[in-house]
């Protein structure tokens, strides 16, 4: 199998799986689950294989496929791996099987539709990351809303309708403005080059006047910022997270939010470099505000899922901060932080799901001393908490450390030129690690420690984790520790792409180094 | 003011009166007749232009208008009959079951 075929297969496996799913009877949920596991497992294997074959330090796309799709408009089915999407593809493929495994016992209604939607979601998310054609990107980007809409709306909690509509309408609003920008770009390419093209690589070469760039970036950025989400466009997130079923929350936190930051990384900033530089102070401010605001809100919540949801706002703020530092440290850190947050928040949501499945409550006040009742559960929860806090040797540390270091390093030269603001922001961001510890430890303390109590479970005694659940969590923890301790492999594979990102956005600052 | 302009003004008046008549009269059949009045207004202006320009097309159009008017009325009257059979009134105000 040639490599490009493998990548295509990776992308289309969920579709094939979904088609096979149609053939299965609704009455045999175990078959449905098994098939989904099989498909997503195969996908993970493929993704891992591609990851190992991916050559570090090589410029441009690897495993590229490019076929005309809407020839008249210059739209191509064009996918490929580069350093920017490699890790996110791996993350998506990694979380897929875990999500399905996590839903083995919790989803009993409309099993077939559920797995179909998860597969569809997987397809669209991978497509978004892999797309190298703006049109294709947009198609996947928007299409992703549909399965998520259904997942939250059908299998969600009490206020699921409100939450899912809010989610959809919020994100769709951003997308509409992005669409306007995409349309405009399409027609600009045509007028500048004479041939229509949506290839992102071609769009990078466009020369746009700065005011136009600003407007277009606004369109793109709104869409991405909503997805990230950045304060003040974040209020869909807590609702969606809280009402979504576990699988939904995991995918939402694990992968979906990354699409926003990936959008900035792949499109927003490199397409409109001058505008990006103009917007940097604003984005940096919002990133830091997100860090602090999210942390503050997480502190005053009593719904476990909400705490984690707001923590996402905070953690994604780091990613944005790293992206706008425009130096290797910051951007590399941002990429690692994306993956890390996917694992950590995904894991935390899975764990909340596990306890919810047992006790049917997400109210922090209802629990206490789980370390006594569910020792194994508590160990895993503690580990994830620590990773969320960013304790060294966990992935959270790698990401946050590099991001903050990058932000600081980016801000220092400006400080020396007399600009205090960026440095102040970078320093304020460091406060986030304190506030992060504040709310996460509050959560851990109230959930795990203190007098033992939990709402009466349905089937009598409270069971500790089953081997299946332990397996899921162990896989997550292993990944978290791996990135924490040995991130270099990842960093090497992404470096070339990050350098190119830097060249596109801030060509004048490439190679800026030690004084 | 030339003759043509006079007639055109009359045509416009007829058209306007016809349109307003549809709005203000209560009886369905009367409303239909006002539709005819509008068509007559149009016909007058067509006649003026046809005559002024010697355009055959105008005359043909007038002829077609007659045909269409006849056809329309042929469909309209049965529908009104149907309606009255159900609602026993010619007041369209009573036929407001579809709304919103």
């Amino acid at each position: 199998m040639s490599d490009a075929t493998a990548l295509n297969l990776l992308l289309f496996l969920p579709v094939i799986g979904g088609a096979l799913l149609l053939l299965l009877p609704e009455r045999r949920p175990e078959l449905v689950r098994g098939l989904s596991m099989l498909v997503l497992g195969a996908q993970l294997v493929l993704a891992a294989g591609l990851y190992f074959q991916f050559e570090a330090g090589v410029s441009g796309l690897q495993f590229e496929t490019r076929i005309p799709w809407i020839a008249a408009w210059g739209v191509h089915y064009h996918i490929g791996l580069d350093g920017l999407n490699l890790l996110l593809v791996l993350l998506t493929a990694f979380l897929g099987p875990l999500v399905v495994a996590g839903a083995f016992t919790s989803i009993t209604k409309d099993v077939k539709l559920f797995h179909g939607m998860v597969l569809f979601l997987q397809f669209t998310m991978l497509g978004t990351f892999l797309a190298q054609d703006l049109f294709l990107f947009y198609v996947f980007w928007e299409a992703m809303l549909i399965p998520m809409f259904l997942i939250i709306g059908i299998w969600g909690g009490e206020r699921r309708i409100y939450a899912t509509l809010k989610f959809f309408l919020y994100t769709a609003f951003g997308s509409i403005l992005m669409l306007a920008a995409v349309v405009y770009l399409a027609f600009t390419v045509l007028s500048q080059d004479g041939t229509p093209s949506f290839a992102i690589a071609d769009l990078y070469l466009l020369e746009l006047a700065v005011p136009v760039q600003v407007l277009l970036l606004t369109g793109f950025a709104l869409s991405f910022a909503i997805k990230v989400p950045m304060v003040p466009l974040h209020t869909w997130l807590p609702d969606a997270h809280v009402e979504a079923p576990t699988a939904g929350s995991v995918i939402l936190a694990g992968v979906l939010l990354k699409m926003g930051t990936y959008g900035f990384l792949k499109l927003g900033f490199p397409l409109f470099p001058e505008a990006a530089q103009l917007a940097t102070p604003l984005i940096m401010t919002l990133a830091v505000v997100s860090i602090l605001y999210g942390a503050g809100l997480a502190l005053v919540q009593d719904d476990i899922k909400k705490i984690i949801a707001y923590s996402s706002v905070s953690h994604l703020g780091y990613v944005m901060l790293g992206l706008v530092s425009y130096n290797l440290l910051g951007v590399q850190g941002a990429i690692i932080q994306m993956v890390s947050h996917g694992l950590v928040a995904g894991g935390l949501f899975l764990m909340v799901g596990m306890i919810y499945e047992r006790c049917h409550s997400r109210d922090l006040g209802a629990y206490g001393g789980l370390a006594k009742l569910l020792p194994v559960y508590s160990v895993f929860f503690m580990l994830l908490t620590l990773a969320a806090i960013g304790l060294p040797a966990t992935s959270g540390f790698t990401g946050e450390f590099l991001v903050l270091l990058g932000a600081f390093q980016g801000a220092w030269p400006l400080y020396e030129q007399g600009l205090v603001y960026p440095l102040a922001l970078a320093s304020a961001a460091v406060l986030g690690i304190v506030l992060g510890a504040l709310y996460m430890l509050r959560l851990a303390r109230r959930l795990l420690f203190g007098g033992a109590r939990a709402p009466e479970p349905e089937g009598g005694a409270l069971r500790d984790l089953s081997p299946r659940e332990m397996g899921i969590l162990a896989a997550l923890i292993a990944a978290i520790l791996y990135i924490g301790v040995l991130p270099n492999e990842f960093l090497q594979k992404t470096e070339q792409a990050v350098i190119e990102y830097q060249q596109r956005v801030v060509p004048e600052r490439v190679g800026e180094g030690i004084r | 003011m030339t003759d043509a302009n006079l007639l055109l003004a009359v045509s416009g008046m007829l058209f306007a009166l016809g349109l307003v008549g549809v709005v203000v009269r209560r009886n369905l059949l009367v409303m239909l007749m006002f539709l005819e009045l509008m068509l007559n207004g149009v016909l007058l202006s067509l006649a003026v232009f046809t005559q002024l320009l010697g355009a055959e097309a105008g005359a043909v159009l007038m002829f077609l208008v007659f045909v269409v008017a006849a056809a329309e009325i042929a469909i309209a009257v049965p529908i009104v009959l149907l309606l009255v059979r159900a609602g026993h009134t010619l007041d369209p105000g009573s036929y407001a079951g579809l709304k919103g």
Binding site: V434, R445, I514 | L98
Partner: protein, 626 residues
């Protein structure tokens, strides 16, 4: 030998994994074997490593394990670095650590979380070794945070008690505040040095190319980190609460090793501080203030462990005083001696608590000397050592500190010395107060408790004896001189042997004064002292309330932050402004929808009118352009 340091570091990690994963199932024997055996083995290896170092005449041993990250031109390597400073630290950590592990066998006997306890303790050792052996600030930071984690876990070891779980959290978060400063300092240093390896940072700063302002800022920021870990003002509040953990933990983590990490950090980065006199001065001032204020609080504490906790803070203040006046070696010297006598004191306290079945209030003790003689003897030796009675360990190190506080050419001053000396007096006073109230005088114990008083098992007393012995001899070799090639002592501004001897004499007098004062004030279960305090009731309240720093933080930081989060962020921001405006827009849409559907009234006349109106409007519009 290649890999020696790595092996040393990994040993306790293995202990942690084995005990953590298998301990519960394999029973006490296994736990003891792994949990205590491995630290001793580590101590052995540390000794061997030290011998190797000395054989190489003190040339640092560097072991690169792997590359953590390479980003552009920057490389972050995980490497271990052994020089005399880290060797001393490693010896203290493994040595005292191993002893305390052994002690714990008796102390924790029968506890439900026995295996967990040893796992945590081993984990702590692992991180502490990372901290002291790491070559780069990054590795140090890993250890730094790791020990914080271990401390958090151990403070909250008995997690079902909410207060204890809270204390753990408080410790972690207070430390995190320091860490924020630490990180910023690290970033600043990195920005200028381009590396995080501490020996190279020292070189870069020593080369004098870094602006003084930057060096000062970096120094202060890193020192903020140190204040967190080493419980200096204003981040000292967590340490007394940390006494919620098992007593051996207090001895190991919150007295002998972890809390000295800040001292180690500053000493390690002496190259930076030598370029930043202002930062050094700040350290000296903070150090001496901490020492003094903690000592005053210790005077009135009634919990045996709390007294020791404040005493620890106070002693750490001394160390920072030494650091601040440029006497880095002296600070490490005091760190070294302090490790022994403070460990002895804590373990002795643990033995007392053990004997009294958990009683910690010194007002309910007294007359224990005869009942638990071994504990008493060792405790008394350690008390004398901390009070600075010659020829015990504390005497040497503390004298050197006071001397340099007075005479150092790099920031020594009379006021620092005076306050330091006053603190030395207070130290003697409160320590002997403790000794008197606990061991001497009449028994004030509850009858129930009294009946069960018993001497601790030999694993505990044995450890006490060893530590007491080191408290005696620990000061006899001049550690500061041993470290001089690495951490040269500052030049003196008052280079007079006579003055030095006078200073020593004065210090001994002070210690004796403390002893006598305590003997007099606390002779009768503390009645004379109580009468005295009656006269200074206000002062007593302030001291008893620990200067109300906790309350201040609560009012100034915690509550406002919660208030802002709840009222401003949640209610005003999220609910009212953001969601409010969104819901407003949604309502607008709904309202328009209602309006539009009303328009569609079903009336044919109305429809015709709309058409008419539209036609008119369009015509008017278009004809305007003609």
């Amino acid at each position: 030998m290649e890999g020696m340091l790595t092996f040393l570091v990994l040993l306790p990690l293995a202990g942690f994994l084995l005990n953590g994963l298998l301990g519960r199932r394999l029973g006490t024997g296994f736990v003891n074997g792994v949990g205590v055996g491995l630290p001793f083995l580590a101590f052995g290896i540390a000794l061997w490593a030290w011998r190797t170092l000395e054989a190489g005449d003190g040339a640092p041993i560097v072991e690169t394990v792997f590359t953590w990250a390479v980003i552009g031109e920057y490389s972050f390597e995980i490497a271990f670095y052994l020089d005399r400073l880290s060797a001393v630290m490693a010896l203290i950590v493994t040595g005292v650590g191993a002893l305390i592990h052994l002690y714990s066998v008796g102390y924790m006997k029968g506890d439900e979380g026995y295996a967990r306890y040893f796992a945590y303790l081993n984990l702590f050792l692992f991180f502490m070794l990372l901290l002291v052996l790491g070559r780069s600030l990054l590795v140090l930071f890993v250890g730094w945070e790791g020990v914080g984690l271990a401390s958090y876990l151990l403070i909250g070891f008995w997690f079902q008690d909410v207060a204890k779980a809270r204390a753990g959290r408080k410790a972690f978060i207070t430390n995190r505040v320091g860490d924020a400063g630490f990180l910023l300092g690290m970033f600043l240093v990195f920005t200028f040095a381009g590396t995080l390896e501490m020996d190279r940072i020292n070189e870069v700063f020593a080369a004098g190319v870094v602006p003084v302002g930057v060096a000062t800022a970096a120094g202060i920021l890193l020192f903020i980190g140190a204040t967190g870990k080493s419980a200096q003002i204003p981040l000292h509040v967590w340490l007394p609460d940390a006494m919620a953990g098992p007593t051996p933990v207090s001895a190991l983590i919150h007295a002998a090793t972890m809390v000295t990490a800040g001292v180690y950090l500053v000493a390690r980065l002496s190259g930076v501080y030598l370029e930043a006199p202002a930062a050094s001065a700040l350290i000296a001032v903070i150090g001496v203030l901490t020492a003094f204020l903690a000592a005053t609080i210790a005077l009135v504490q009634t919990d045996i462990k709390k007294v020791l906790a404040y005493s620890t803070i106070s002693q750490l203040g001394f160390m920072f005083l030494a650091l601040g006046v440029g006497a880095y070696g002296v600070a490490v010297f005091h760190l070294f001696t302090h490790a022994f006598f403070k460990a002895a004191l804590f373990l002795g306290a643990g033995s007392v608590i053990h004997a009294l079945n958990g009683e910690q209030d010194i007002r309910l003790m007294g007359g224990l000397a005869r009942r638990i003689p071994w504990t008493f003897g060792t405790f008394a030796i350690a008390t004398a050592a901390i009070a600075g009675l010659p020829p015990l360990a504390g005497f040497f190190s503390k004298d050197e500190i006071l001397w340099f506080a007075l005479a150092s050419g790099e920031g020594g001053s009379l006021s620092l010395w005076a306050l330091g000396s006053l603190t030395a007096l207070l130290t003697a006073l409160y320590m002997f107060r403790l000794l008197w109230l606990v061991f001497l005088g009449r028994s004030r114990m509850e009858p129930d408790t009294e009946r069960h008083v018993h001497e601790s098992p030999v694993t505990m007393t044995g450890v006490l004896v060893v530590l007491a012995a080191f408290s005696v001899i620990g000061g006899w070799f001049g550690l500061s001189h041993y470290l001089e090639p690495l951490l040269p002592l500052p030049a003196l501004r008052l280079d007079s042997a006579l003055l030095h001897w006078a200073q020593i004499g004065f210090a001994v007098v002070l210690a004796l004064l403390g002893l006598i004062g305590a003997a007099w004030l606390y002779r009768d279960g503390g009645k004379p002292a109580d009468q005295l305090w009656q006269r200074f009731r206000r002062l007593h309240r302030v001291l008893d309330g620990k200067y109300f720093v906790d309350e201040l933080y609560d009012r100034l930081l915690q509550r406002p932050w919660r208030w802002v989060s709840d009222r401003v962020f949640l209610r005003l921001g999220d609910r009212l402004l953001i969601d409010g405006s969104l819901h407003g827009l949604a309502a607008l849409a709904r309202w328009s929808a209602v309006a539009f559907t009303r328009v569609q009234s079903g009336s044919l006349h109305w429809y015709a009118w709309m058409t008419l109106f539209g036609l008119v409007a369009v015509l008017i519009w278009v004809w305007r352009y003609v």
